[in-house]
Amino acid sequence: MPSHDVLIIGAGLAGQRAALEAAQAGASVAILSKVHPVRSHSVAAAGGINAAVKVTDSWESHAYDTVKGSDFLGDQDAIEVMCREAPGEVLHLEHIGVTFHRDETGQMDARAFGGASAKRTFYVADITGQAILHVLYEQLTKYSDQIDKYEEWFSTSLILNEDGSCGGCIARDIRTGQMEVFNAKSTILANGGAGQIFKPTTNALICTADGMAQAYDIGAELMDMEMIQYHPTCLVSNGFLITEGARGEGAHLINGNGERFMSKYAPNKLELASRDVVSRAEQTEINEGRGAGPNKDGIYLDITVVPKKRVHEALREIVNIGKDFSGVDITKEPILIRPGQHYIMGGVRTNVDGQVPNVPGLYAAGEVACVSVHGGNRLGANSLLDTLIFGKRSGAHAAARASDIPMPQAPTSRLEVDRKKLEKIISRERTGRRISEIKDELGTTMNKNCAVYRTEENLQEQLEIVRRLKEEAKTAAIDDKGTIFNQDVLGALELEYMMKTAETIVLGAIERKESRGAQSRADFPDRDDEKFLKHFTFTESDSGPVLGEAPITFTKWEPEVRSY
C-alpha cells in the first residue's frame, strides 16, 4: 500500500504546484493523475496569468478588480492573499524556467485582459498554461527522489478515517486495472473542473467533476455551484475557445448589422469588460435578432484590426485553431463566435490554506475548489493564478500538518467496496442507454436551461432532467469487459460524478433568485444585496443535497453598482 505524507490527486497546475511546495518542505509526496500530468487541462490555458508585478501596478488594484469582477460575491480575505502573493509567484515561475514574453528592455511584458484596470497579464505567446505546466513538470522530475508520480491512475473515491478525517484515496491503475489504497496524512484534491457537464464546452474530455463529487461524498460542502462562466468567444462551429488575449490585443466584436455593439453595454471597457458582461451582451444581441452568420446565432470576432506581426507572435495558437477547426484565416477575416461554457467558479469549499472546513486532512486547490476568489465571475487570467497560489499554500499547509501527526491507519474496507462496484459495472448487462447518449443529453440540456440566461421554469425542467439521467446513469451500458486500459468503466464513474455535481449546479441556480455575476435570472434581472449577499452551499445526505449558507468575507470593499 503506497503511503505518503502528502497525497495529491490531480496533476494540473494546482496539483503540480502543491507537489513542488510539499516536496520542498521536506514531505514525501505522491501525485496521482488519470492522464499523464502534461495532458492535464491546464495545458489549454492560453491567455496568461495576472499579477501586479510592474512597479507601476499594485496588488490592491488587482484585488479591487477581482472583487468587482466577482460581483462582490468573492471572499475578500482570500482575494487579498491571492493578489498579494501573485507577483512573487510569477517571478518564481520565471526563475524556474517559464519563458515569459519580454518587452524591448528585456523585462517581462504584460497584455491587457478583461475587467482589469492595468496591463497585468503575463504570457508566453498564447501557450501560457502549457509553458507553465511543462516547466512545473520539469521540476517534479528534478525532485523525483521525493515525489512519486502515479501517472494514469484514476482515483475512485476518498477514504474517510474513523475519526472523520481524510486518509487518502482508492485508485485504479488504468494500465493494469489493479486497485490500491493510497494512504496519506494529508490529501489534496486538485482534480480540476466540471465542464463536461455542458455541451459544448471549452473544457477537455477529462473535466468531469470527479473531485467535487468525491469530496461531496465524504461530507465536504460544495459552494457557489450556480456560478458557471460562459466565455464570450467560443467558436460557433465546435465550441473551441478563442483566448481573451485576442480582445486584449485589440480585437473587436461585431453583430450581424455590422455594429460594434459593446459600446451599448460597457461604454468604458467595451470588449474588455468582464466576461459575464460581454457574454450577456452577445447573447442579448443574438436573442434580439442581431446575430451574425448563416443562422444568426453568432457574433463576429474581428482580429484583423490587430497587426499581423503581433498576431503571429502572440496569438499563433488561435491562428491555428481558426485555420484547423473553422477553416478561417483570422488575420484576414472575422470569425464567428458566441458565448460557451468555460469555467466553474464554484467547487469544494476551502479556506485560504486550502483546508476543507469539515473534513480534517483534506485540502482542495484549483478549479475543483472554491476559496472563493472568483465569486460570481472569474476574471480572465485569474484562474492560473488561483491554481498556483492556493496549490502552493495547500502544499505547504498539508506538509506542515503531516510533520505533526502519525500515519493514520486508513480503513481498507473502501477498497473492497470500490473494487466490487467496478466489477459490477463491468459485468452489467447491456440493456441501459449508452454512456455517450446520456452524457450528450445532460450536456445539451444544461446548455439550454442553465446557461447565460436562466428562468425558474427552465431550471425546474432541468432539475427533472438531471434527476432522471442520474437514475439512467446507474444502468448505462458499457462495452469493455477487460481490465487493461478499460476507459469505458471509468467513463461510467465519471458520468455519476457529473450527475451529482450537475444537480447542485441547478439547485444553486434555482435558489439564487437574483442576477449576480454569471447567474443571470431573466425573471429576477437585478442584483439583490438584501437577500443574496451570501454563498450557497450543498452537502450530501441520504435524502439528497442539503442547502446551506456561508457568509461572504468583506475587508476593504463595500458592494457598489458594477459598471464597465
Binding site: 495545458v43 524556467g97 519563458t99 523585462q107 505567446a125 499581423k308 506581426k309 455517450s436 477487460g482 467513463g491
Partner: protein, 373 residues
C-alpha cells in the same frame, strides 16, 4: 453527411489474440477531425476502443497515432486530409511506431518517449537568481518558445527513421527539449549539456536528417532544425568535436563557396576531414585516409562527370563579378553582431516592415533549417 470508412488496428493483450483490423463507417463533415471520427465510433458502436484523448484541440498531446502511414495528432488531422493519403479509400489508423503497444491505439510513452526526454536533464539549470526576473533579450524568449511549444505527443518519435535503426537514439523530441535549454540564456550549463549529447553514441549525431520529424510535428517545433542548431552551437561556440564531422563538412561548404563561388566537389571531402587550413586540408593524414575510403564514391562522381580530376588541383570558379557578389554576401553576414537564429515565432509579414521578422509563417513545415544567417 459524407461518409468515411475508418480501419482501426485493434490489439488487446488480455485476449491473447493477434492484432486485427476493425472497420467502421462514420458520417461527419470532411473538415472534422479523425479523432471525432474515432469518438463517433466509440459513442455509437464500440466504446472499448482504447485511445488517449482529452483536449480535442491539439494542445494536450494525447492523441498521437499513425494515420494512413503518417504520424500525427488525430484531433489535428482532418478526415479529408487523411483521405487524400489513402490508398484504398479508407482511413487506416494505427498506434505510433517505435513504441510498444499497450492496447489498441495506446502506446507505452514512458518506456520510450519520456525515458529519452529524461536523458537531457530536462529542467533549467540557472545560476544565481536575480531579485526580479532575468533580463534577457526579447528574441531569445520568443526563440525558445518554439521548442517550448512541444506538447510531447511523440509523433516525431513514432516516425523517426534513425530510431528505427537505433532504438537507443535519443530522438527528435528529446533533442528539441535540449535546445529549449541550450537556447535559453538563463541556463548556465550549455556547454556541459552539449558535451553530454555529443558524447552519447546515440545522441546528437545519430540523426540522419530525414525530415520525418518536421513533417510529423503538429506544433511546428521542427525538431530536426533544433538538432541542426544544437550541432552548430556545439561546433562553433564550444568547439565540440562532431564525430560525424558534419560541422567541418558544413564549414568546408562555406569556405569553398566563399573562395570560388561554386562548390568544388573534389575539395569537400578532404576539407571536411582535414580542415580548411593549409597544413590540414588536402595534405593532412586524416584527410588522406578519408579520401582513400571515399575512393569508390569519388570514382562514381568522376564517372558521372560531377568531379573532374583536373578540378582537384584547379577548382572551377565563378567569374570575378559574380564572385564579388558572393563575397559581399559573406561580408554582410559575418559583419552582423550576432548570429540570427530565426524560428517560427519570430515571424511576420513583409508588410509590417520589420527586418528581423520578415519571414512569412510557413505553412510548409520544411521551414528553413534553423537558418544561420
Amino acid at each position: 453527411m459524407p461518409e468515411f470508412t475508418l480501419r482501426i488496428r485493434r490489439y488487446n493483450p488480455e485476449t491473447g489474440a493477434a492484432p486485427y483490423w476493425d472497420r467502421y463507417t462514420v458520417d461527419l463533415e470532411p473538415h472534422r477531425s479523425v479523432l471525432e471520427g474515432i469518438l463517433q465510433v466509440k459513442d455509437r458502436f464500440d466504446s472499448s476502443i482504447g485511445v488517449r484523448c482529452s483536449c480535442r484541440a491539439a494542445i494536450c498531446g494525447s492523441c498521437g497515432m499513425t494515420i494512413n502511414g503518417k504520424a500525427g495528432l488525430a484531433c489535428h488531422t482532418h478526415l479529408s486530409e487523411a483521405m487524400s493519403r489513402s490508398k484504398d479509400g479508407t482511413i487506416e489508423i494505427q498506434p505510433l511506431g517505435n513504441m510498444p503497444v499497450i492496447k489498441d491505439l495506446i502506446v507505452d510513452m514512458d518506456a520510450v518517449h519520456w525515458k529519452k526526454v529524461n536523458r537531457v536533464t530536462p529542467w533549467l539549470l540557472s545560476g544565481d537568481l536575480p531579485e526580479r526576473e532575468h533580463i534577457v533579450p526579447r528574441e531569445s524568449m520568443v526563440d525558445v518558445t518554439q521548442p517550448m511549444a512541444c506538447i510531447q505527443c511523440g509523433s516525431c518519435v513514432g516516425d523517426c527513421l534513425a530510431m528505427e535503426v537505433d532504438p537507443d537514439f535519443i530522438g527528435p523530441a528529446a533533442l528539441a527539449k535540449a535546445y529549449r535549454f541550450v537556447g535559453d540564456p538563463r541556463d548556465v550549463q550549455h556547454e556541459q549539456r552539449l558535451k553530454d549529447l555529443a558524447d552519447d553514441p546515440h545522441g546528437l549525431y545519430t540523426c540522419t536528417h530525414c525530415f520525418k520529424c518536421i513533417e510529423a510535428c503538429p506544433k511546428g517545433v521542427a525538431p530536426m532544425n533544433q538538432i541542426m542548431r544544437l550541432r552548430r552551437i556545439a561546433g562553433q561556440d564550444h568547439h565540440i568535436e562532431d564525430v560525424n564531422n558534419g560541422e567541418r563538412h558544413e564549414e568546408a561548404f562555406v569556405v569553398l563557396l566563399q573562395k570560388y563561388g561554386l562548390l568544388s566537389e573534389a575539395d569537400v571531402v578532404p576539407r571536411s576531414y582535414g580542415g580548411n587550413g593549409l597544413t590540414g586540408g588536402k595534405l593532412s593524414p586524416k584527410s588522406g585516409e578519408q579520401v582513400f575510403q571515399s575512393l569508390p564514391f569519388l570514382a562514381k562522381a568522376v564517372l558521372r562527370g560531377k568531379v573532374k580530376i583536373s578540378q582537384t588541383l584547379f577548382p572551377h570558379k565563378l567569374d570575378s563579378e559574380s564572385l564579388a557578389e558572393v563575397k559581399k554576401i559573406y561580408k554582410d553576414v559575418k559583419g552582423r553582431e550576432e548570429r540570427l537564429e530565426l524560428n517560427l515565432y519570430i515571424t511576420g509579414y513583409d508588410e509590417d516592415g520589420d527586418p528581423t521578422t520578415s519571414e512569412a509563417i510557413p505553412d510548409n513545415p520544411n521551414e528553413k533549417a534553423g537558418a544561420t544567417a
